[in-house]
């Protein structure tokens, strides 16, 4: 039996045809002393292909196991299903910070965290997150049209972190993976030590 309302078939032949929300949760991964977190198309229920025109990753309370200067939370993408995370990218990176003791505040470009046709991992934060129990980073990363084979793959991100020197630090990235190959995997990790705790949610935007 079909359910038809105002001339529109809503339920028929074992399927429901209704408009869904445009932000679709694809996968949520919780880190616990994890060396890295990866989302690979076709693995563990992950869809990272041409199904969606953009993908949004939300980072919730990313907490490191290791506290050291210049230890950053960063990411890279793969064009070979996660065998290699080394896609060439060019990007910009700027940050604003304010110290809890009111000793300094700033807004500036940071070339050491930017990429210039590099295959390194790109930092999503500025400076290093502390390992105090209440210190972490949160934010988002959006990647546009990763499965396209004509254009480079643009991304934008913004995070705020509780720096090891007790600085509230907001970091902005914009860039592109300079490849016309389809991107089909992404990996997040710290430059040293494990991801002690984090939730990373991956969404597809219809």
């Amino acid at each position: 039996m079909a359910v038809i309302s105002a001339g529109t078939t809503l339920i028929d032949a074992g399927a429901i045809s209704v408009p869904t929300g445009a932000l679709i949760l694809i996968k949520s991964i919780t880190a616990s002393s994890s060396a890295s977190i990866s989302f690979v198309d076709g693995a563990s229920g992950v869809v990272f292909d041409g199904t969606y025109k953009s993908y949004i990753f939300k980072f919730i309370d990313v907490h490191p196991s290791t506290e050291a200067d210049n230890t950053v939370f960063h990411f890279q993408c793969s064009t070979d299903g996660g065998s290699n995370y080394n896609t060439t990218m060019t990007s910009s990176h700027f940050r604003a910070g304010n110290y809890e003791d009111d000793s300094d505040r700033f807004l500036s470009f940071n070339i050491t965290q930017a990429q210039s046709q590099d295959t390194d991992f790109a930092s999503l934060i500025n400076g290093s997150i502390g390992t105090d129990n209440d210190q972490s980073a949160s934010g988002f990363l959006q990647i546009f049209n990763p499965a396209d084979t004509t254009f480079v793959k643009h991304f934008i991100s913004r995070t705020n972190s509780h720096n090891l020197n007790n600085v509230s630090m907001v970091a902005y990235n914009g860039g592109y993976f300079n490849t016309t190959s389809a991107i089909d995997a992404i990996q997040f990790k710290f430059s040293a030590g494990d991801v002690d705790n984090a939730v990373i949610k991956m969404y597809g935007v219809t």
Binding site: S5, V18, P19, G21, K53, S91, S108, T150, H154, Y172
Partner: protein, 204 residues
Amino acid sequence: MAIISDGTTIADAASFSVSLGNMVLLNTATASNSASLSFNSTYITSTYPIYKFEFINIHPATNSAYFQVNLSIDNGSNYNVTKTTTYYHAYNNEAGDAYALNYDPARDLTQSTSYQDISYQTGNDNDQSTSGNLFLFDPSSTTFAKHFLININTYSDVSGTDYSINTYVGGYGNTTSAVNAINFKFSSGNIGSGQIKLYGIKGS
């Protein structure tokens, strides 16, 4: 025919009345050597308090053109709403020898009806484009100005050099009339290709 369960209307008037997410795709406009792309009062109404536009690989026909936006209060007859805005960007070239975070006073608007630049000199090589987002807040208000926020990234050609340019624009349409249409174009030449997706974000 409506479906009512325990006093709650589940389905009626060709729609389900259930929680289906708070961001709803309203329309997708695809450019194919198009002079501009527009969304009119069919989509921009009082239904949603926030509208989000996603730009997917906006590619110019003419090299180093600026992708632009303007608003209308007469359903697209005129795109000339007075605006005051800020425009700043972080850029880095592929050689890594030219980079900065700059406010660009040549790109902001001060009570101007001109189009607002979104990108900075988008290149027209086959792999060059602009992608990002624009949020338009409460366009149907007849009390407040109409705020908007833009963040995009561009693969730019600036005097023959390739840059990644991350642009931020904030501003308001300085009108208490309802905004009911929006237009996107390049400062020079057509939109060779690209998609703009329009979403409504529910307020409750």
